[in-house]
């Protein structure tokens, strides 16, 4: 391993100013700092520094996403198996899911990191590690059957418009991963909505009559609709589709790759909250907001959907995933502590509102978070103003 450091030091001059490959210095530095913590010492200010850096923070978020990813891999195989009635065993399902999800990751990281490296290079900046998380998130929030070229365009849009034009990680106002999904859904609505894209292999089957790895047709009575669609008919709708609260909680249901299992998401949430990387205040208040609107709808409700018990909204669709991993993005969420409560509450409340009152679009989470990302600075502004006013009053009295 020391040889590696020596080798990197040896080739460093080539990439430094004046060297032959100096135009690649951002790329070199990115690899260098990825391989080892550089021997940079403090120059001004504090002489010692905490061991934590952004790479560590990001790797923790990536770790927190691993349970959802693993579950998503299995569930992709499981859904395929159910749809085509293949009678597969556990490892066959995992292998199928792995083969389907690997390309999503390849596209996400190659396109995303490629753009990051190029833009860092063009501006002479250092490559930021923020995309490690974004690239991990994107495949988890898209349908498994998304065409790869669409995903590539969406990733490029998210990274360029969502992040780089603002100046990179830390400067963006919208969560780039969600922007990617929003781009997909609004640019390719015919491909991105409906009942047929959520089950791996189904799109291909419908297009040319054969699905990957099997020649069977779909089983009788298969609809492919996600639980959210069934929930549109209220609790009876879910029951007649054979989906219980426990199914929604465990996650062996249709949906985007990584968003279905609340258990796996909760494991990630525990890690994020324990390490303090994501704010528990946002998560909690988002749950409170969703329940508040849910109960309100229960109280006033006349249609079956409005009467769907409020707590179902917590396990349906992308709510749990969005609350834990997307709404809590420290850059795009509210920054003040009071602001976090307001922001989280509104995310939860808006999600359920969109679900209940917008028949055209079932999943409210994406739009709710993007909208609240937009308003987060405004919330912070009023929180800060109120705090300053309170302080001024205190000083006057004293």
């Amino acid at each position: 391993m020391n040889g590696l450091v020596k080798f990197m030091h040896k080739i460093k001059p080539t990439f430094s100013e004046g060297g032959k490959l100096s135009f690649l210095h951002s790329t070199f530095e990115a690899f260098e700092s990825f391989l080892y913590v550089p021997g940079t010492v403090t120059a001004k200010g504090t002489h010692v520094k905490d061991a934590v850096d952004l790479k560590r923070v990001m790797i923790i978020v990536v770790l927190a996403l691993v349970p959802s990813l693993l579950f998503g891999i299995w569930n992709t195989g499981y859904q395929h198996n159910e749809a085509f009635g293949l009678g597969w065993g556990f490892w066959q399902m995992v292998w199928y899911g792995f083969l389907r999800i690997l390309p999503l990751y390849l596209v996400s990281y190659i396109v995303g990191l490629g753009i990051e490296f190029i833009s860092a290079q063009l501006r002479g900046h250092q490559v930021n590690e923020g995309y490690l998380v974004t690239g991990m998130l994107i495949p988890l929030i898209v349908p498994v059957d998304v065409p790869l070229w669409m995903l590539a365009i969406a990733v490029a849009f998210a990274v360029i418009i969502g992040k780089e034009i603002f100046g990179g990680t830390g400067m963006n106002i919208w969560n780039p991963a969600l922007l990617c999904r929003a781009f997909l859904f609004f640019s390719y609505p015919s491909k991105m909505s409906g009942d047929t894209i959520w089950t791996g292999g189904l799109t291909k089957y419908l297009a040319d009559g054969s699905a990957y790895a099997c020649g069977n047709g779909v089983v009788d009575g298969f609809s492919g609709a996600t639980p959210l669609v069934h929930a549109g008919q209220g609790i009876q709708g879910l029951e007649s589709a054979g989906i219980s609260f426990m199914d929604l909680f465990i996650g062996n249901i249709g949906g985007a790759v990584g968003e279905t299992s609340v258990i796996a998401i909760l494991l990630g949430a525990i890690l994020l909250i324990w390490t303090g990387v994501a704010s528990w205040k946002i998560m909690l208040s988002s749950v409170i907001g969703a329940l508040a609107i849910g109960f309100l709808a229960n109280a006033l409700g006349t249609t079956p959907y409005l009467q769907l018990p409020a707590w179902y909204h917590l396990v349906l669709g992308g709510f749990a995933f969005g609350t834990v991993f997307m709404a809590t993005d420290p850059v795009t969420s509210a920054q003040t502590e009071t602001g976090k409560w307001i922001y989280g509450f509104l995310v939860g409340a808006l999600t359920v509102t969109v679900r209940l009152f917008n028949p055209g679009y079932m999943e409210g989470m994406m739009l709710a978070i993007l909208l609240m990302n937009t308003f987060a600075p405004l919330i912070d502004h009023y929180v800060v103003e109120a705090s300053l006013k309170r302080k001024a009053k205190k000083v006057k009295i004293a």
Partner: protein
């Protein structure tokens, strides 16, 4: 005693090398330096030439803008060298000390019989006026001001800081005289803050003529700026002064003995210090005078005058700062650590966050070095800063206002209340490795320029 103000937010940095409470030796200074760079924003006017002889207390340079503020020599001897930096900036005046120390005599008079103007005149003439630091901005106090109050912190929570009960154990009487003198310079009172841990046991609780306050909590509870913000926050137009306890003792000595005496007990600390303990030293003493405390044969030690958060890197040939009674010796962390950020365990590293496992060993002390442990990035995690800042301000907003050179916003977000030392912990914990103290310095310098 008054109520205890308990500060919940803060962080004690567990660095190894606390000074044992023993005085190892008396430094007989050879060459000492007087450094204009110890004072923020000062434009010095040199008053001596190489070869001049000075007494302890003879002026060496003055403030160009208020020439009545004199900066004097801590020893009697001969000016040997005037060190200048870029653009001929005056850095150091080096003075070779005589064997027998001779002092200027500023007269011994009871402070009770002197009025404010007479006290001011003696402080200005003796070179002790610069011990008075003005808030806002942390600059040398203006002689024309009469501050709202004067604040003294009787304890320090900074990493490895000298223990005042030990370092100032013989100076209680002088501190009282100093406080009596300071009382005549303010419209208000002299406020002294004690540590909750030992406020009834410390000899300083016998001090009179003061408004006592008691603070509990981790660093920066001992920072005078934090204490002020809880006692009476500084708003626009306010001027308060702060004095360190050690400097109060020096002021007391001036009135009790008539001498400019900035000798002090200096704590030699840090992971690289051999047998860390105290020496009897003097402001401006050379690092060569404490050579037995370190082995710098690899040339890998950083010499810090002050503590690891706010001190100055003075180098191996450096000199102790005017305000400092602590030297910290740490290793330069120039080694690369393979995949360091990805290792699950890094037991030799401390992190205040739970991203590593140092929370499992709360009592452990770490041999910290100067490695930055990462590269600078934009602000990403905005909630880490307020956890170590027990003040009612928004640090990220203030820093962004400083970066944007926006004076109105800087004012709004509390630039008057803070100096670098108050935000030093924010810089320590920052995962984006942002130079927070230096951003704040630039902000304060801009305020000084624009508000002058």
């Amino acid at each position: 005693m008054s109520n205890i103000i308990e500060l919940k937010r803060g962080l004690n940095i567990p660095i190894s090398g606390t000074a044992a409470q023993k005085a190892k030796k008396v430094v007989i200074p050879d060459v000492v330096a007087v450094k204009p760079t110890d004072f923020r924003g000062l434009i010095p006017k040199l008053l001596v030439r190489e070869g001049d002889t000075v007494l302890a207390g003879s002026p060496v340079f003055a403030d160009k803008l208020s020439p009545e503020i004199l900066f004097t020599s801590p020893v009697s001897g001969t000016v040997t060298e005037i060190v200048r930096g870029e653009k001929r900036k005056l850095l150091e005046i080096r003075i070779k000390a005589d064997k027998d120390q001779k002092y200027e005599d500023f007269g011994t008079e009871k402070t009770a019989s002197l009025d404010g103007d007479q006290i001011k005149e003696r402080l200005l003439k003796s070179g002790l006026w610069p011990a008075l630091v003005q808030r806002p901005y942390g600059i040398v106090a203006k002689p024309s001001d009469k501050p709202k109050d004067i604040f003294i912190s009787a304890f320090s929570t900074a990493p490895l800081a000298a223990n005042p009960e030990f370092a100032l154990r013989d100076d209680l009487n002088d501190i009282q005289t100093g406080i009596n003198a300071l009382c005549k310079l303010t419209k208000g009172r002299v406020h002294v803050s004690f540590n909750r841990e030992n406020y009834s046991g410390t000899p300083f609780h016998k001090l009179e003529n003061i408004v006592p306050h008691i603070f509990g909590g981790k660093h920066p509870a001992g920072n005078v700026g934090v204490q002020i913000s809880h006692v009476s926050p500084i708003v626009k137009g306010d001027v308060v002064w702060t004095v360190s306890l050690m400097m109060t003792a020096a002021i007391g000595k001036l009135f009790n003995t008539g001498k400019y005496d900035v000798s002090r007990m200096v704590a030699v600390t840090g992971p690289k210090a051999v047998d860390p303990s105290y020496v009897k030293g003097i402001a401006g003493m050379s690092m060569k005078d404490i050579a037995e405390y370190y082995d710098n044969s690899n040339d890998d030690i950083r010499f810090i005058s002050g503590d690891v958060l706010t001190g100055t890197n003075i180098g191996k040939d450096g000199f102790l700062g005017f305000f400092d009674n602590q030297v910290t010796l740490i290793k330069e962390g120039t080694e690369c650590e393979i995949l360091g950020w990805a290792k699950p365990f890094r037991t030799g590293q401390f992190s205040a966050s739970k991203a590593y496992f140092s929370w499992l060993t709360p009592k452990k002390e770490y041999d910290m070095d100067t490695n930055t442990h990462g590269e600078p990035r934009a602000f990403v995690l905005s909630s880490v800063y307020s956890k170590v800042l027990p003040m009612d301000i928004f640090p990220v907003y203030l820093l962004k206002a400083c970066l944007a050179n926006d004076i109105d916003k800087m004012e709004k977000f509390g630039i008057y209340e803070v100096i670098e030392e108050d935000l030093a912990l924010c810089e320590f914990v920052c995962p984006s490795k942002i130079g927070i103290q230096s951003i704040l310095s630039d902000g304060i310098n801009l305020m000084l320029k624009e508000m002058a």
